[in-house]
């Protein structure tokens, strides 16, 4: 009985996780057109954080669309459910103490607002990062050849072509990937993370 009490007294709190990891959990939500540079920035940020010993993890189409959301398509309802599920997964990672980098076009304001609300209700930091890029520049880059297919009518409901992108009105961070260098973008994000207290905590001895 004493033993049971002993174990049970040890519920791990968010403060415990912060002490263990040296930073708080948070969701950084990258939204923007296909080709705007969301994934490029997330990859670079993950690397920059790791060099500081900070644990981050990237969620994107590669590990979500082929995994938990493999039974969803691209209708409006499925897009909304796609973003809802990613928002819930992001929230779990943030609760675990991880800095999660979620990169999804997420074109609808209402879907992004729902994800923010999920985090606010759980008292977890949520930063909307608008990776702003002109359509012409994104289409010029066209890293996956998707704009070309959309223009040819081979892909329907493609954001920016025949489906809207609702730009954030008040993003927490506004990057302009056609005007800034990647270094500059990473610096901007790291500075904000420090200002918000997410990176400020020093690792303390247990």
């Amino acid at each position: 009985m004493t033993t049971n009490l002993h174990w049970h007294s040890g519920l791990i709190s968010r403060a415990d996780r912060t002490r263990m990891l040296g930073h708080g959990g948070a969701t950084l939500w990258f939204t923007g057109l296909s080709g705007s540079g969301k994934s490029t920035i997330a990859v670079a940020l993950e690397s920059a954080l790791a060099r500081q010993g900070k644990l981050s993890y990237r969620l994107d189409g590669d590990n979500i669309r082929l995994g938990i959301n493999r039974n969803l398509g691209f209708s409006a309802a499925d897009r909304t459910e796609n973003i809802r599920r990613v928002g819930e997964v992001s929230k779990l990672f943030a609760d675990a103490g991880v800095i999660v980098l979620s990169s999804f076009i997420s074109p609808y304001s209402a879907d992004r607002a729902l994800v923010r609300q999920l985090h606010e209700e759980a008292d977890l930091p949520f930063l909307e990062i608008f990776v702003d890029c002109t359509l012409s520049e994104a289409e010029r880059r066209d890293p996956k050849g998707l704009y070309k297919k959309a223009r040819a009518g081979e892909i329907k409901n493609f954001t920016g072509i025949d489906d809207p992108y609702e730009a954030p009105h008040q993003p927490d961070i506004h990057l302009r990937s056609h005007l800034q260098t990647l270094d500059d973008e990473i610096d901007t994000i790291l500075t904000t993370l420090q200002e918000r207290g997410i990176l400020a905590q020093e690792a303390l001895p247990a």
Copy 2:
């Protein structure tokens, strides 16, 4: 351009995460009857791991059924989808380097086999932990009063009463919660994690 290459060269590998955290990611899947002690063991294990500076995170009905799976019920199809999604989320956590403790009745062998397969395909450790307990003992404990309701017909399709529990034939760990102490169960799990090399890695300087 040089800068871009610089950032991109830094893709974070699983080995990087293991160095950073001092342990590998893994999914520990607790299966057993309602009241068998799955959550009690997971809570105690989380605490024991934290005392060693190891990062774990618990997934259970509380943060899953009210979150990512809030749009699922308890039909056979929805139970299967419930476990599939939890399996995918567990896999993401394990990939991130976290020791995830997933506690779900998960009564059907086929559903658990799918989760194992998801992990094996991704080359991530998956340990099925059978929290074995007699139905009479689980029903005597009845911590949430659910057996009483099931016996009264107020809950339908309740595992062990009017829905089957398919016990694992070859679990990675077989606990007998009506015969073992909690300390003994935690020791058994920690020993297996060391034997499998999940806890063996020492944190190395970056």
